[in-house]
Symmetry: C3
Subunit: 130 residues, 3 copies
């Protein structure tokens, strides 16, 4: 069982939960009561940080675990930490302005792509021959 990846997965989920609490706080600060999700651009950017992270979670979690199981636990976990760091930068940037979401977004994208390539390489390397 890949233990480093298991710990990083819990960290990623905890960070994702933290983003949900930022949305709840922003509802109060910018006066966007439930069940609305629009009406104030400052709220909407924080809402989009959370939504976009949710949208990428299937790509991240699938690539992370297939990379850990078929290639290497510690390597997958290290890239998982890079992903969390990129997501944190994405949150702080996007909270301020739409254009400032990009550096963090590219870091998390790069981490996901490397995990995806690692997973594919691991599956091919372990393919039983003839």
């Amino acid at each position: 069982m890949p233990r480093y990846t298991a710990v990083v997965t819990l960290l990623a989920v905890a960070f994702y939960f933290f983003l949900a609490t930022r949305v709840a706080v922003a509802r109060g600060s910018f006066n966007v009561p439930l069940p609305a999700t629009t009406g104030n651009p400052d709220f909407e950017r924080i809402f989009r940080v959370h939504q976009n992270t949710l949208e990428w979670l299937p790509i991240f979690l699938v690539s992370l675990w297939l990379c850990a199981l078929y290639l290497n636990d510690a390597g997958a976990a290290a890239l998982g930490l890079v992903w969390i760091g990129g997501r944190a930068l994405y949150f702080t940037g996007y909270s301020k302005a739409v254009a400032r979401r990009l550096p963090g977004f590219f870091i998390q994208s790069a981490a996901c792509i490397l995990l995806f390539v690692g997973a594919l390489a691991g599956i091919i390397l372990h393919w039983p021959s003839g």
Copy 2:
């Protein structure tokens, strides 16, 4: 392989699918045609039940399975049933009024937190020493 958790996972997914059918029915009842997701607060609350459940599924599924694999199958499955029960209460409450979403929401949150702590404890307990 954790069999109790596997059954509860299928139950959770089936309940989540049921929520999607409630959104489809609400589109008809409250006259919110596709692709819109806003325009009627009664529809929007049911839409938010489904979306919020989707938003929590990565937290729930990750914590549930890491708890089952690293700590205990039957215990994880039991907390998974509590989560489904909390989600059902969240659905019936939130369908009626925004404030009535809270009891079910806290029950499902508590189940997720316990699964998360159980997963972390299981990983630490199984960490190979020196």
Copy 3:
């Protein structure tokens, strides 16, 4: 480890990522700047394709992997390919008109239901007796 299902899972995630790029392109084509997600029905249909695929991913991935692990790898992978095909048809149809989303939607639903039934059957078949 189910290798066919692992490959199909990476394919499904890659297709889902492709849908996200279609939303980004549609933002430009139909002039819906971030963080908005509404304002133009042509954009909103493509946005809904991506969102609906996200909404179904937990159902699909859970059923796919439980079917692969508890019943049969190659069979689960084959149904996973049908799911991706149905999702591709859903995308091309829904991009044109709301009503044209249905054929692809029913194909991907049928693949998910079969995977769900296969997972349940596999868990029951492997249940240790007495």
